[in-house]
Amino acid sequence: MLKLFKNLNYIWNKFKIAGNEFWDTLEEELILSNVSVETASEILKDVKEYCYENNISNFEEIKKFLKEKIKSILIKDINYDNKVLKINQKPFIILVAGVNGVGKTSSIAKLANLLKNEGKTVLISAADTFRAAAIEQIQYFADKLNIDIVKHQRDSDPGAVVYDSLDRAIAKNIDIVIIDTAGRMQTSANLIDELKKIKRIINKKLNRDPDEVLLVIDSNTGQNAKFQADVFNKALNLTGIILTKADSSSKGGVVLSIKNDLNIPIKFITFGEKINDIDYFDPEKFVEMLIA
């Protein structure tokens, strides 16, 4: 599971005082958790200042403020009190994008299942027409979950798949359409353009933007995740992040930096191979997990 500090208690017991060595070790651990150098020093600067100003030398209190500081980054400008998806129109469109191998297709299956279990009708749009067997993979999930799917031939135009999906969703009065897109490196300009085109098609058909544009980020990814978020955000105006593979040994600290630098909130988190291994992002729980 994700954890910012391997063993915070152990670090404290090693030094027993909040001196330079203690802070340096914390910084080292934050960086080892993929928090960027910048964000790590910002967090520690605030915590340190707070401790000095209030004359705090008690470990539990330091830990408490550390949690608060990290939570404050995560919840800035977003209200997690209600479920993060405000499903207020039909069809509610969720566009899912990401680089190759982060777990887009599995996440979409999990998300579709989660929403279906909330009583919504869901349609999956198989717009990854590029990767070999991607359509078959999502088809497998759709069959298993008994969820409607719109697909075309391999290598066909993803835009056309999306267009048909919207048609079908309107005709069948579907609540939510989730669009699976091909994995693409953020450095590939023409593939990013293809995503923009999908967005334009939605716009043309429904006269509005997709309601959610989610970027899938792999917990194992390092500082490159910031770059991914930046490029996809510029092209698509991201509304949130799905953090995958939280069951890995990685510490997922990079989402802190993404939130801190680009202010894109995490909305979902996945943590296993089973279809139910997905949850709405809960900052409270997340911080407790990060700083155990």
Binding site: I31, L32, N34, V99, N100, R131, Q186, N220, S249, V254
Partner: protein
């Protein structure tokens, strides 16, 4: 790939270079900056620490003011350490005596195993002219087998698969037997993605290793992996003792820190890199070239080496003395020209220099190698005495030199004038020159 590191290192080196002399504080500052660059590039924190210690040790150990310029020496140290970090020289595939040579690919989910399996098959097939087949042992991810079959069709390789068998160990055993009968030279096993902390899944792949005895096991690693890359590599190695690493997704403009850390920690060579979506986008990995690329100054190292080898420092010093005494003559001039020519064309030398925005500069400067040939021809047509004492060259001598070198008197005049200007200029500047280090005095050309 690695542009991030390259541009950051370029900025840094440009900064030090402009300082001219390197003080201990400059060195400290540079080390701090290198630390930030490497961390931002996802190089493992502990690896960075060791890396910096080594550079510091080397920089202080070698008297960095002794050879060439300190700036170049720092780059050289960083570059050498970078190659060390990436793992020395590249190594190729060993094929087994008895067919088939079995190669097994393992790694986390989403690292790119299936795509890599086909790319590797294609590389072996085309480079070594072997019959390569694949075994689909990922029974977990929906449509993974189909993906492998579909992709393999493009390169005409057979895929062994069993649709109703959910025992990957058995599938691999059956596959090897079947493919051996079909005289496959090489068999690549595509296993399912797994977390190194998933005991059950790790046991499965350990069992495949035990039963099938692959000749080579490669760990497939997504090069965008962050700090955790070293632990993943370490734990896979403890369980499987793999032979090498394949790095994928290098086209993602990645910082590629994983590449720099893993070898350092597990001491396994990076064998191949996958650099794009096409099947051919797959290369044998050369640590030295990669290091140069990262530093963004690979070529200047070649340049330093070449100048070190070709330019006699003693002679270069003698020339400086002469400049100082205003005794510089055409013999020295031609000597220097030859040294430069030994290194390569002017265009090439210029392209090796770490100059920001050099393409813009290049447009304005006419780097014509023919110019140098012409100058050399003119000097060669001078007598020994004329070369030593250019002052004696009068009208009739000029005519003779021009005829001898196939040039016009105006060319000879131009050269003499430029030479006089240069000599004059150099004399003025010599006082301010750092006497150590090689200078190219004839920058007028």
């Amino acid at each position: 790939m690695f542009e991030f590191l390259t541009s950051k290192f370029e900025d840094l080196f440009f900064k030090i270079k402009n300082k001219g002399k390197l003080s201990p504080k400059d060195l400290e500052d540079s080390l701090r900056e290198i630390k930030l660059i490497l961390l931002e590039a996802d190089v493992n924190y502990l690896v960075v620490k060791q890396f910096l210690e080594k550079i510091k040790e080397k920089a202080l150990g070698e008297n960095i003011l002794e050879s060439l310029t300190p700036f170049q020496q720092v780059i050289k140290i960083v570059n050498d350490e970078m190659i060390n970090m990436l793992g020395g020289s590249s190594s190729l595939i060993n094929f087994s005596q008895r067919i088939p040579t079995i190669i097994m690919l393992v790694g986390l989910q989403g690292s790119g195993k299936t795509t890599t399996a086909v790319k590797l098959a294609n590389l072996i097939k085309s480079k070594y002219a072997k019959k390569v087949s694949l075994i689909a042992a990922d029974i977990y991810r929906p449509a993974a087998i189909l993906q492998l079959i579909d992709y393999s069709k493009k390169i005409g390789c057979e895929v062994y698969h069993e649709d109703n068998n959910n025992n990957p160990v058995q599938i691999c055993i059956n596959g090897i037997n079947a493919l051996r009968k079909e005289a496959s030279d090489v068999v690549i096993i595509d296993t399912a993605g797994r977390l190194q902390i998933d005991v059950e899944m790790m046991n499965e792949v350990i069992e495949i290793k035990k039963q099938v005895k692959p000749h080579q096991i490669y760990l497939v690693v997504d090069c965008m992996t962050g700090q955790e890359a070293v632990n993943i590599a370490k734990e896979f190695n403890e369980k499987l003792e793999y032979d090498g690493i394949i790095l994928t997704k290098l086209d993602s403009d990645s910082r590629g820190g994983a590449a720099l850390s893993i070898n350092h920690v597990v001491k396994k060579p990076i064998k191949f890199v996958s650099v794009g979506e096409k099947i051919e986008d797959f290369d044998i990995f050369h640590p030295d070239r990669m290091a140069s690329r990262i530093i963004g100054m690979g070529d200047i190292l070649t340049l330093i080496e070449k100048t070190e080898k070709l330019i006699d420092e003693k002679k270069s010093k003698e020339i400086e003395e002469k400049i100082y005494k205003n005794e510089l003559n055409f013999e020295d001039f031609v000597e220097q020209l030859r040294s430069i020519k030994k290194i390569g064309s002017l265009e090439k030398i210029f392209s090796m220099l770490p100059i920001m925005g050099k393409n813009k500069v290049l447009k304005d400067i006419n780097l014509d190698d023919k110019q140098i040939d012409k100058i050399e021809a003119i000097i060669n047509s001078m007598t020994k005495q004329e070369r030593r004492y250019p002052e004696i060259i009068n009208g009739s001598r000029k005519k003779r030199i021009a005829d001898g070198s196939g040039t016009d008197v105006s060319d000879v005049n131009k050269l003499l004038k430029q030479f006089e200007n240069t000599r004059h200029l150099l004399k003025q500047f010599t006082g301010g020159f750092n006497k150590k280090g090689f200078k190219l005095p004839f920058t007028g050309f």
